[in-house]
Amino acid sequence: MSTATSTVSARFDVEKVRADFPALHQRIHGQPLVYLDSAATAQKPLCVIQAIRRFYESDCANIHRGVHELSQRSTALYEAVRVKAQRFLNASHAEEIIFVRGATEGINLVAGTWGRKNLKEGDEIIVSALEHHSNLVPWQMLCEEKGARVLAIPIDDRGDLILEEYEKLLSPQTRLVAVSHVSNALGTINPIETVIAMAHRAGALALVDGAQAAPHVHVDVQALDADFYVFSGHKVLGPTGVGVLYGKSKLLAAMPPYHGGGDMIRKVTLEKTTYADPPHRFEAGTPNISGGIGLGAALDYIAAIGIEEIAAQEHDLLVYGTETLQTVPGLRIVGTARQKAAVLSFVLDGIHPHDIGTLLDRMGIAVRTGHHCAQPVMTRFGIPATTRASLAFYNTLAELDALAEGLKEVRERFS
């Protein structure tokens, strides 16, 4: 038995945690489900499902301005989530939390408001070669419109950012540095505090795509000094269709609205409208109320377990999974960064990830195959696609063994 095994069992009662996740207890093609796709979306604990159900069963009403009991209840439930998200990110004020559909919308919101207002011809935005398309394409669209440029921090063979190259890219033209906290394709945990500090020294702002970080590492936007931080609810055990954009108060206050409509106004006449203060200025229309309430339940659940406990458990799983996968002949792990979240991206000699994914699925093992919406990463490593097993604290060592055994079977079939 490896050291990883003993530390995991000593620290964490995984079976107790798994009991909270109804979806994990099913058979797929006659085999017990082995869910290794949490970086795409996490499974949901019962408390999240129940919170959404409870809202629709007893508290359903539109929020804000309603004078009746149900509307006051739903408003209180929804606005309480803003405070939970504030605590989750350690933001200074609840008004710095803007509800969006997900990380993608959060980034597009910043591009469409702050970016449209502040970017000029000749300006530069720095991203990294690790980015998910959601933290690349919005900036390309913005820069195309403005005659500005997107530059990318290169990565090395391990999948780490090359900070010396980043230093060279920074210039008086740099307006924004938009980098992921954790890479979805490789699992690299970026030295985001350094990335932000370097951006600030160059006079630029820093936006952090925290979609993959929020479920797995402790985030403190004040300690990081992030100007903007985004994450998606569904990756932190919450429902789909809700997410959070954090922005520093003084930046949000100077930003124009995102969508026009109800809820984002101060005063409307037929001629002119003045806008509400943040966060409501950026939240036009009826939001995803039940989703927000589900997200609140998810953040409570994470707080109860403890994000540090989660990170430690996942690190043990990562160490064990890395060792175990290396027993599969012909397997090469892509992404071996010094600091990694529990993502195992790999290629298997001569076998396409799509075939691997289909065969594993028949064994009940759910993995993701393809470019993971990070085509520049695949290009960097000269591969069309990888197979990715992404772990969460509800995974077990036995599931990693099942993955390795499954891959050995795949090899035999294709040999």
């Binding site: 396409h352 990830p353 799509h354 289909t358 065969l359 028949r362 393809g370 470019h371 695949m378 294709f414």
Partner: protein
């Protein structure tokens, strides 16, 4: 059950694809791309009197898409443009509907298992979409998205 998908002939053609080469004297060619899995291929045809005198391909993809391109180029040789398009239509019908499998598909019948795997239909049809593009002399790369 998964053996229905990865039949022996498919595994054989994916490991040892036939007609996997550049064709210098091609008079029709097209590129195909499946953005979902990153599969891409270039199809070459030499048409003589509206018949396929030679067909070949190059590219990278999964076992299903490689075998599909290999078996397609084998099947096409000697076929008229009309016959090629009819074959494509029949294959497409087999992959996307529940109708009984026809007995006039020749070797292509090995792909019948794919219809149980909706996510993989694009893999089996990439070569054929590319064929359609090549026959219409389209210069734009086709995609299955």
């Amino acid at each position: 059950m998964v053996d229905d998908l990865y039949q022996e002939i498919i595994l054989d053609h994916s490991k040892r694809p036939r007609n996997c080469r550049h064709m210098a004297d091609a008079n029709c060619a097209a590129e195909g791309h499946n953005p979902l899995c990153g599969d891409q291929l270039t199809l070459y045809l030499r048409m003589e009197d509206d018949r396929v005198a030679d067909a070949s391909f190059q590219g990278s993809g999964c076992a299903i898409s490689t075998a599909a391109a290999s078996l397609m180029t084998e099947t096409l040789k000697g076929a008229s443009r009309e016959q090629a398009l009819v074959l494509m239509e029949r294959l497409h019908q087999m992959l996307t509907t529940d109708t009984p499998v026809r007995n006039d598909l020749g070797k292509l019948v090995v792909f019948c298992g794919v219809r149980e795997y909706p996510a993989r239909v694009k893999c089996a049809t990439l070569a054929w979409h590319t064929l359609k593009s090549a026959l219409s002399n389209s210069v734009e790369p086709v995609t299955t998205e």
